[in-house]
Subunit: 180 residues, 2 copies
Amino acid sequence: MTMNVRTLCLGFLSTGEASGYEIKKGIEDGMFSHFIDASFGSIYPALTQLTAEGLLTVRAEEQTGKPDKKVYAITENGRKALARAISVLPAKDKFKSEFLFQMLLHQFITPDVMLAAIDKQLNDLRQDLARIAECRCSEQPHAGARFVADYGEAVLTASVRCLEEKRRELVRQTAAQAAE
Amino acid sequence: MTMNVRTLCLGFLSTGEASGYEIKKGIEDGMFSHFIDASFGSIYPALTQLTAEGLLTVRAEEQTGKPDKKVYAITENGRKALARAISVLPAKDKFKSEFLFQMLLHQFITPDVMLAAIDKQLNDLRQDLARIAECRCSEQPHAGARFVADYGEAVLTASVRCLEEKRRELVRQTAAQAAE
DNA sequence: TTGACACTATATCAGTTCGATATATATCGG
DNA sequence: CCGATATATATCGAACTGATATAGTGTCAA
C-alpha cells in the first residue's frame, strides 16, 4: 500500500472538494485523526503534484472576510489511483509513544514527574475519546466511519482503564513509601 | 521531551552496553518494540554523534565466526543527558494505521480485499501479543517493563476483540448478500 | 563443492515528512 | 490602534525511513 500524503489527500478529497487548509483541519478533527497525521509542509506540495498529474483539479475561490483559497477536487483518474493504492495488504501499524518510553525508564525520573506524565496521558486519551464521540454525532455514519470509530473507542477505552489502575497503584506505593 | 533516536540509544544503553546492530535488534524484539522503532540509517549516525559528545564510549570487539563490532557504553554524562531528556511532559502518542485508512475508505475495495486486510491485521496484533508474553518471560520484569507490557497487552487485546467481532459481522453480511 | 540463502555488522543516501517560520488578509476584544 | 486569533499558502532545514552497498561467516541442499 502506497500510504503517503498523496494517498491521504486523495482519500480525503474522495468525500468532497476542499482546500489544503481544509484538508489539514479535516484530518485533525475528523475520523482520519485517529490513525493519521500530516503537516502543511507535505500537504501543499502533494496537492500541486497530484494536480500536475491530472489526479486532481484546482479552482481559485475568492472569499469575503477570508483570504482566497484554492479548492481541489478529485478526478476520475484520481479515484482510480486511490482505489489502486488501497487495494493492497496494509503495512503494519506504527505506534510511537514518548510516554511509554518514560514509563519503561522510570528509574530516571522522580515520582511526581511520573504522575504528571500519567495525568497528561490520561487527559490526551480522554480528549481523543471525546473527539470520536463528536465525530459519531456530526458526520453521517457510513460503515467505514463506524468501523474506525468503534476500533478507536475500544483501544482508547482499554488504555484509559489500564492507566487508571496503574495510577492508583502508583499513588498507593508513593504514600506507603512516604509513611516509612 | 527530546524524543529522538539519540535519546532512544541512550535509553537502550542505560540497561547495558551494545553495538549498533544489537540496539536495532533489541529495539525490534524487546520491550521498546511496542512503542518505538528506529532504522540503521538513524542509529549509526546517532551513536557516532553521541560518542563525539562524550555521552558514550566505544570499544572495538573482535569476534570469531562473526564480523567485528563496535560496543558502545553510556557514560555518567550520558545518564545525566538521558535523565534530563525524559524528565519533561511527553508529547502526544502518534499512531499510524494504513489498515484503518483502508477500512474508512472501504467503498473503494472489494470484500475479499477487506477480509484479507482484516486477517493480516489480526495476525499482526496476535504476533505482537505473543512477543509481549515472550518479553515477560525472558527479561527480568522490573516495574517499568511490567508497566509497558500491561499497557501494550491491554491495548492489543482490546484491538483483537473488536476486530474479531467486526470480522464476524462482515462474513455474515457478505453471506447474506451472496444469498440474494 | 559450489551456489543460494540467511545472519551479523557497519555505513551511506535519496526520498519523505515534520516542525518551524514567513507572509498576507481579516475579525474581534481591550 | 494594538495584539491575539483564525484563515490561507508556501518554503526550508532537520530528522528519519527504507533501500542499497559492502563484507565476513555459517548452513544446507543440489
